[in-house]
Amino acid sequence: MRFVWRRRIPLAWCLLTRQPGRLVVALAGICFAGMLMFLQLGFRDALFDASITIYRLFNADVVVVSSTSSSSVSMEPFPQRRLFQAASWPEVESIAPVRWSLLVWKNPETGSPRAIQAVGFDPNDDILNLKSLTEQKKGLQLDQRVLYDRLSRPEFGPVEDWFNAGRTVTAEVQNTQVWVEGLVELGVSFGADGHLLTSNHTFNQLVGSSDGSSTSIELGLIRLVPGADPDAVAAALNKALPDDVQVLTKQEFLDSEQDYWREATSIGFIFNLGAAMGLVVGAVVVYQILFSDVVDHLPEYATLKAMGYSSMDLVMVILQESLLLAGFGYIPAFLAGKGIYGLARGATNLPIVMSSQMAIFVFVMIFVMCIISGLLAMGKIRDADPAEVF
């Protein structure tokens, strides 16, 4: 029984470094596992995060959507009347009707069509907490003017470059010419490869209403007076309004979107599976290394037992070995992960970043992976019988 730490020969370190080739293989395996986890989990988080980029910016406490709407890609229209009904509520400070649909955008350079997420609103309303929008929305008061999301996928055309070069950028949306009035920054998501902001008047014209009016909307944003409880108001509105709409607090609205991608699709599962694969591959490599290490040194471990070392002492050595492997394998994995994130960010415009949460999570996983492999390899230690070394 030792209760105080005593400096000893760093046996675990010596065992690991005796065969540098094997050590490199072990570290490569761990690094691979870590990289795979960073990659899979990073994309998973980024995609889930990106799915609500624009929702998060909505300047609203409570949101009204059609009761048949289940996500941003299946937004159904509902009567605008419902929003006006809600406006009469005493806690409601202001309302903003929003149109939301995928429209066909033709690449102004190549003419190839692609669906872009279009958002239509009254330019007098502040529907997004987005400075670039507040500054530029006046320009949307003219018809056929749009603000273009500069983070949209490049397949939509070199809009940003042209615009910044001072060119007048026009494109065809639903076979109607529109002018790009300015650039905003939103970002891509599962449902949207790009965004287009415009006035509800232009939006309605684009979708076929010649006078630019419409009695239906896809989204109703509601601001409450200061101090009002969004949960209570949402509940009350849900009760009072007909069944064709559902009223959600902003948080519920965000959650339902993320839940949709998480649960109604297999995206999360696929990424988790990828990460788990990394973990399994890493665990197998580490186990192999530690196991062959133990087998290799069995007579030496038996000798140590014969000298008076306990099985626990030897178990600690294996554990130290696995911790050393975890630590040294993690460093390159972390650096590689950061590199991959940088590349992925550049290639996809997804908000994929090395958060400290992610860094810690992957470290813990690698740590656990190494410990488990170590524990499995330890079973062999019992075979080190000091009576058999003579």
């Binding site: 400096r7 020969i9 000798t303 037992k305 009576a387």
Partner: protein
Amino acid sequence: MATLQPTPPQPLVRIAELNHWFGRGDQRRQVLHNLHLTLNPGEMVLLSGPSGCGKTTLLTLIGALRTVQDGSLEVLGEQLLKARKSVQRRVRRQMGIIFQSHNLLRCLTATQNVQMAADLVPGLSFDQRRQHAIDLLSEIGLEDHHGKHPSALSGGQCQRVAIARALAGNPKVLLADEPTAALDRRTGREVVELLKRMATQHHCAVLMVTHDPRILDVADRLLQMEDGRLSTAQELAPL
């Protein structure tokens, strides 16, 4: 370091009516029969006998490396019959063991190998234990080989490091099982003489199994084993 035993000397090892069996059921076979043996401080006792007669078995029993099945086996005042694991470990720590092959840890240097045993000694600081290991290596004439790994040492040098390691825990008893078997005749002789010298200097009793008739002259006492039974060699056949 080691203190002289008070008179009359307490035997370090006291064995009475020791029996041992291997195997189970039909396979069960007795390999040690009603052994009696005492080992006194400072003694050098050699044990020889034909292959398979049970010498190694006896040594592993004394070294607390094997569970005692029947009879009394007292080592350094501890009864090993039905002894707990912690008692076994305590006995192991107070005993030095030298194997036929040196069994040094390949990943450690000569000094580190010796220090692995010194590390089990309570009370000393890391540097003191290291110094102890270095001193022992110098004593056995390996002062120029401290930092070498076993792969860079000859068989005789490795066995000498093993002797230093066996002594590093300040044991009162050294157990050696054919320590010269893997060495040529001259080196074997040197190693045994070194063992004898070191044991004397460190006031350590030695029980050594050997087949080598050339080294029997270093012994204070010779034991002969045949089919698991002990007798003093003189009674059987003077060599």
